[in-house]
């Protein structure tokens, strides 16, 4: 299990690096939130960004598909950043004579934007899946091109803070004194809050509310418990973010858990340990050493996973579209995934199994589902755990997803063990599982599986929608009746054809023996 988890982790590459980057930037900004007493403002900004993202989803639904998809990807990030930035400026302003205290205004924004986000995604065609995505995030199935804006945005935030660290500290520690020094206090405060809004909104798109909240609040708590000076607090805050990111990611890899929740739990445990240990000198020393070691391990693991991950990602995970040649290779040069070495070179990006299965059933973007199929096919988990997902995906409405899953099932069926598992699936309770498994076996040259397809012709539990799919599959066989035939006709035909049909490995299809 440890070896599997390690192999999954090693193949996480840019997703692990992204979690760590989000962690370090949000934790650092969280320290400013703590210093200025605006932790709740950070949380409200995240919720506001979520409402912006949800609004973009609703707009995308009303647009033509191509335009809608671009609004759904780029527009969602922009509207999230925009709304969070507007919120930060609005909440930073102190209306003269207002009787509503600042924290009540923040609470108002938080409650309003949370409600708005839920209502908007509810109206969206992919409502619940997107709601869950906003809350829990799915950084591990995020595509490369989705991560690029995040990396650019967070890098910009890092540059701004490298340039303005000292003035930001001055205006946060004593704004009136900063004013006396001649610093442009209001502009610096807006820049600080703007950078907070950008970091939160972009991180939210990739990692979800849970990951952002966790990194914003919990590492600074660790830093305040362990550090005796500002430099120490900053150091332990960043160390906690790195350690929590590493531990959470490892736990998610080992136990097939969602990354955001795992990282959040790891951070909570670290914060609890720091809180308990701060009063005892020995425990404090051990905790400090542990946090520092965790940070070193997390940072050293980054180049390791990035180098390990030099094998190219599956095309869709990279965001490229496959060439026709690649598609052809996909379909006609099966690899034995049924026997794939969990840590072998076939292994590519491997997020948690649960996340992949969820992405297959809920990801709105077909390209993401294709990426999830590819990752699932190469996943280290046992085949019986992956097979239901692949079988389901082979019946996906989207041709690219179905084709990708079918290709993976062909590779599965090419091995004796894989074929045996597919055969077991042909007698499953679910009619769709029986259909997908029989079809995969037939396409892989297992003529006996035609019986499974015939049995489905008059199966009462096969959804009507798939009735034609069985006939279409049978018509792929040589000399099959071209016109619609009754189940009885099909059985008569098959009784005659069974002896004459054989599998031609060279062409990858059935041929009539007389041909």
């Amino acid at each position: 299990m440890i070896a599997d988890a390690w192999s999954v982790f090693l193949n996480s590459g840019e997703h692990y690096a992204t979690v760590l980057f989000i962690g370090v930037v949000c934790a650092y900004l969280g320290l400013f939130c703590v210093l200025r007493g605006i932790v709740f403002l950070g949380v409200a900004l995240a919720q506001l960004a979520a409402a912006g993202v949800a609004g973009a989803f609703v707009v995308a639904d009303a647009l033509p598909p191509a335009l809608g998809e671009s609004v759904r990807s780029t527009g969602a990030s922009l509207s999230g950043v925009g709304l969070a930035a507007l919120g930060s400026f609005g909440l930073a302003a102190k209306p003269h004579g207002s009787r509503i205290p600042a924290d009540a205004r923040v609470g108002l924004v938080y409650a309003g934007s949370a409600a708005l986000a839920v209502l908007l995604v509810w109206r969206s065609s992919r409502g619940l899946a997107e709601l869950r995505n906003l809350l829990a995030g799915d950084v591990v199935v995020a595509r490369h091109e989705d991560l690029i804006p995040l990396w650019i945005g967070l890098s910009a935030v890092v540059v701004v803070h490298a340039l303005f660290w000292r003035p930001f500290l001055q205006v946060s520690q004593d704004p009136e004194f900063a004013q006396a020094l001649g610093l442009p206090v209001r502009r610096l405060q807006w820049l600080l809050l703007g950078s907070l809004a950008v970091a939160i909104a972009l991180s939210l798109r990739a990692g979800g509310l849970l990951l952002v909240f966790g990194f914003l609040v919990l590492p600074p708590v660790c830093g305040l418990c362990l550090g005796q000076r500002v430099r120490g607090v900053l150091g332990y805050t960043l160390a906690a973010a790195c350690s929590g990111g590493l531990l959470g990611y490892l736990a998610a890899s080992a136990a097939d858990l969602p990354v955001a929740a795992s990282v959040g739990t790891a951070l909570l445990v670290l914060a609890g340990a720091a809180q308990l240990g701060k009063a005892h000198p020995l425990a404090l020393g051990a905790l400090r050493a542990g946090f520092a070691l965790g940070a070193v391990c997390a940072l050293f693991a980054m180049p390791l996973v990035l180098c390990w991950d030099h094998e190219p990602h599956p095309p869709h995970l990279r965001g490229d579209h496959p060439t026709p040649e690649e598609e052809a290779t996909h379909d006609h040069a099966p690899r034995d995934l049924g026997h794939a070495d969990p840590a072998g070179p076939e292994g590519e990006a491997r997020p948690s199994l649960e996340v992949l299965l969820r992405a297959l059933s809920e990801a709105p973007d077909p390209a993401r589902r294709v990426a999830a199929v590819e990752a699932l096919a190469a996943h280290a988990a046992p085949l019986e755990a992956r097979l239901p997902g692949l079988l389901g995906a082979s019946l996906d409405d989207d041709p690219a997803v179905a084709s990708s899953a079918t290709a993976a099932l062909l590779r599965v069926g090419a091995s004796p063990e894989g074929a045996a598992q597919l055969r077991r699936a042909t007698v499953a309770d679910e009619a769709l599982t029986r259909l997908a498994a029989s079809r995969a076996l037939v396409r892989g040259g297992h003529a006996e599986a035609v019986d499974g397809l015939l049995a489905l012709l008059d199966s009462e539990d096969l959804p009507l929608l798939y009735g034609d799919a069985v006939g279409a599959e049978l018509r792929r066989l040589p000399r099959a009746p071209a016109e619609a035939a009754s189940p009885r006709d099909w059985r008569v035909w098959w009784a005659e054809a069974r002896g004459a049909i054989r599998w031609d490995a060279a062409s990858g299809s059935f041929v009539y023996s007389s041909e």
Partner: protein
């Protein structure tokens, strides 16, 4: 009077459309120690903020012809993070220069806190915190230092420590503006006084401005102004009721 360091000319001060001080005409000369007193909400802080440049006059002009140092009350400094005294004083400098640690140490020493650079600011006593803030104000080598309630919340020892330093600075030629509620403190150390009441400024020598009749008119009860060992003492008269 020596060269003017601060000059208000028919300045109208306020926030937004609200006017706090309708017409301020005030000149502060170099080397003066000006005290600003008055009841709560009279506009002391508004006057101070105008000198700091934090608010612009709605009308008229405010000119400040000196490097300004600012020493707020100690509770204004955010101590959520464990800033050291050195950190706090160092942040008084606009830029981090190579000689900053030496300047910080020198400023702390000048304010009676030698070797305190690494002590956590929040762990210092009230008087020490206020002196550290004075050190922060001094690190930019200002000619004019503004004090906002420098002795608020301090015990007698703390008050004495801080005001001795203030007095030393004034003797060394610094121009000081002292805003305080504590009339006896201002009366003792200020060379000239501004009393603000009802949007109007009364300016003059301390003993003239702090008369029993004027204070009674402002506060609404009988106030006793006396001299004890040559020092001013201002107290509510026995049996006085507001």
């Amino acid at each position: 009077m020596s060269a003017a360091v601060i000059e208000f000319r028919a300045a109208r001060l306020g926030y937004g459309s609200a006017v706090v001080l309708p017409a301020v005409d005030l000149t502060v000369g170099a080397g003066e120690c000006l005290g600003i007193v008055g009841p709560n909400g009279c506009g002391k802080t508004t006057l101070l903020r105008a000198i700091l440049g934090a608010i612009a006059p709605q009308a008229g002009t405010v000119e400040v012809r000196a490097r300004v140092g600012y020493c707020p009350q100690r509770t204004q400094v955010n101590t959520v993070l464990p800033f050291t005294a050195g950190d706090v004083v160092g942040l008084g400098s606009l830029k981090r220069t190579p000689d900053l640690p030496a300047r910080v140490a020198a400023a702390l020493e000048a304010c009676g806190l030698p070797g305190s650079s690494e002590r956590v600011f929040a762990d210092l006593s009230g008087g020490q915190q206020q002196r550290a803030l004075l050190a922060r104000a001094l690190i930019g080598d200002p000619d004019l230092i503004l004090f906002d309630e420098p002795t608020r919340g301090l015990d007698l020892a703390g008050e004495h420590e801080v005001m001795q330093l203030v007095s030393q600075l004034n003797r060394a030629g610094k121009t000081l503006v002292l805003v305080s509620h504590q009339l006896h403190v201002v009366a003792r150390y200020a060379t000239r006084l501004v009393l603000i009441h009802g949007g109007e400024l009364t300016v003059g020598p301390t003993e003239e401005v702090l008369s029993s009749a004027r204070l009674q008119a402002i506060y609404g009860f009988e106030v006793c102004v006396a001299q004890v060992s040559g020092l001013p003492v201002i107290l509510p008269a026995p049996g006085a009721s507001a």
